[in-house]
Amino acid sequence: MQLFPFIDWRDIQNRMAENDQEALRVLYDHYSKRLFELAYAIVRSKEMAEEVVGDVFIQVWQKRKRIHTVENFSFYLYVMTRNSSRSYLRKYGQKKLLDLDELALPIYQIDASPEDLMISGEALQAINRAINELPPQCRMVFKLVKEDGLKYREVAELLHLSPKTVENQMGIALKKMHAALQIYRREQR
């Protein structure tokens, strides 16, 4: 879970419906990086992921009169990105349109100092290692829930998983992180 600066997305949706391009810019600044990460994970190419993200925002603008009533706008953007990524893969003749074992994920790092977290540098390293050693599907689920704030059922729908699987994957991620912290604490004693 992450705390975002407060942006009234309902207001952004309304402003877009009234042709306010600055509203689209706010949306883009906030979401382009996250959506790019999702697109990249699926299509595994920077150029293609950029096309996908561009397409998503162009579509949002084209549909602005209709989508200003969309309830869960954030999730809507993720779904659009997934769909657009899949259609790119289809266009390039890929058979598997969403291969959760082959997701291209970056190396993640907890972006805080050991002092802020009140743990040692070694413990922080161990945590980062634990996150990046998670299997791709597990890491993707963890990232979408923890970092992007998506609900379990949303992640399940987005990645075509059962809600139970999402629960299990999240459990595994926490268990590994906890283990990393605990090993270090035991050594300290």
């Binding site: 879970m1 992450q2 705390l3 391009q21 600055e22 689209l24 883009y28 382009s32 990086k33 790019f36 990460e37 990249y40 992921a49 950029e50 993200v53 561009g54 925002f57 162009i58 603008w61 084209q62 970056p106 190396i107 993640y108 790092q109 907890i110 972006d111 805080a112 802020d116 977290l117 009140m118 743990i119 413990a123 945590i127 996150i131 990232k143 829930v145 923890k146 970092e147 609900k151 379990y152 629960e167 299990n168 999240m170 459990g171 595994i172 991620a173 926490l174 268990k175 992180m177 906890h178 912290l181 605990q182 604490r185």
Partner: protein
């Protein structure tokens, strides 16, 4: 598998997805003496997690989005403004002043940077257009007969200042630390992240800026202390000051006009940006309606010597055709004669 159940419930709790029953279950499963580690885990959970190296889409993505918006506007934009456009064009054709040199006086900062670093210069020939991406990602569409100059090394890092002679459409990348500044003769434009056109041809009697969106701040050479803020769909027209005596042989008459005028263009700014498009389409429009678009497209001034020609209707698409080719095609149905001299086009009844 009660330990796995424990982690599953802990995950749900952190994500705010637990029911009251599950919270009770979680409390029952919690091991003793693990509080320190769990607290540390809490702090890690709320800390941001970033990809290394940072991954983000390049600037081109946003520009592609913007381009698609502009082409949509161009498609839907209709010529409600044409009468205004014509009036402006008429005001602009009162003879020509040649400003010697496109560098303005009193541009000390700019001059200094010329000495320090060589300048990049982009020049377009009459009738040709070009699109430039500046080092900071700002896009510039440069109309024919125009010149854009910017610092080779300093631009984008130390400053964002360009000098324009001619006409250009700017789509400026936001950067609050480095304001984007455009110098033209008689007008300096300070930009706060925005899209707009600037028209400052040396031969024109006025310098113009039309704002499509965002906010720009303008100062004129005549009154540098006064800051004029331009809002979207507004156009500012600043009369050119008489050039310094050494720049032209003949001293033209001074323009007695007010320092500047601001015109509200309504929602439709299509005519102002018509020259940026890849083709100019017109469907059963009168020559009078078509003229301002052609003036922008070919960067000419059109004069009707016979009023009847104004009301004649034309349909067609101009893409790569030269002015002469277009006029020859129009002549077939239009019954007129034309004469071109420099950038002036005279039309008379056949």
């Amino acid at each position: 598998m009660s330990t796995d159940r424990y982690w599953l419930l802990l995950g749900k709790k952190k994500s705010g997805e637990t029911s009251p029953e599950e919270l009770e279950e979680l409390a029952a499963l919690s091991p003793e003496g693990d509080e320190d580690t769990l607290d540390a885990l809490d702090r890690v959970w709320v800390a941001p997690m970033e990809p290394v190296p940072e991954t983000f889409p390049s600037r081109n993505v946003w520009h592609r989005v913007q381009k698609s918006i502009y082409s949509e506007q161009a498609r839907t934009g209709r010529g409600r403004l044409l009468r205004l456009g014509l009036a402006l064009a008429a005001a602009g054709v009162l003879g020509a002043i040649v400003i010697g040199g496109w560098y303005m006086s009193g541009r000390k900062v700019q001059q200094a940077s010329v000495d320090a670093h060589p300048m990049n210069q982009v020049v377009t020939q009459a009738g040709s257009k070009t699109k430039i991406a500046l080092p900071d990602g700002t896009l510039v569409w440069l109309n024919g007969n125009s010149q854009l100059t910017y610092g080779n090394k300093s631009f984008g890092t130390e400053e964002r200042e360009v000098t324009l002679s001619g006409e250009a459409f700017f789509d400026v990348v936001k950067n609050e630390k480095l304001p984007f500044i455009i110098h033209t003769k008689d007008m300096t434009i300070r930009v706060l992240g925005t899209a707009f056109t600037v028209r400052a041809y040396p031969r024109d009697k006025t310098v113009e800026t039309v704002l499509i969106r965002g906010l720009v701040e303008i100062t004129t050479r005549r009154d540098p202390e006064r800051k004029i803020v331009l809002k979207p769909n507004e156009k500012i027209v600043v009369p050119v000051e008489a050039p310094e005596s050494n720049s032209t042989a003949k001293a033209p008459a001074r323009i007695p006009a007010s320092p500047y005028s601001i015109l509200r263009l309504g929602k439709d700014t299509a005519t102002e940006t018509v020259w940026m498009r890849s083709k100019l389409e017109f469907d059963n429009e009168t020559f009078e309606e078509l003229a301002p678009k052609m003036e922008k497209w070919y960067n000419i001034h059109i004069h009707f010597k016979d009023e009847k020609i104004r009301k004649r209707h034309f349909s067609g698409v101009i893409e790569k055709e030269t002015l002469t080719q277009t006029l020859e095609a129009m002549k077939l149905s239009g019954h007129f004669e034309y004469e071109i001299k420099d950038n002036e086009l005279w039309l008379r009844e056949n």
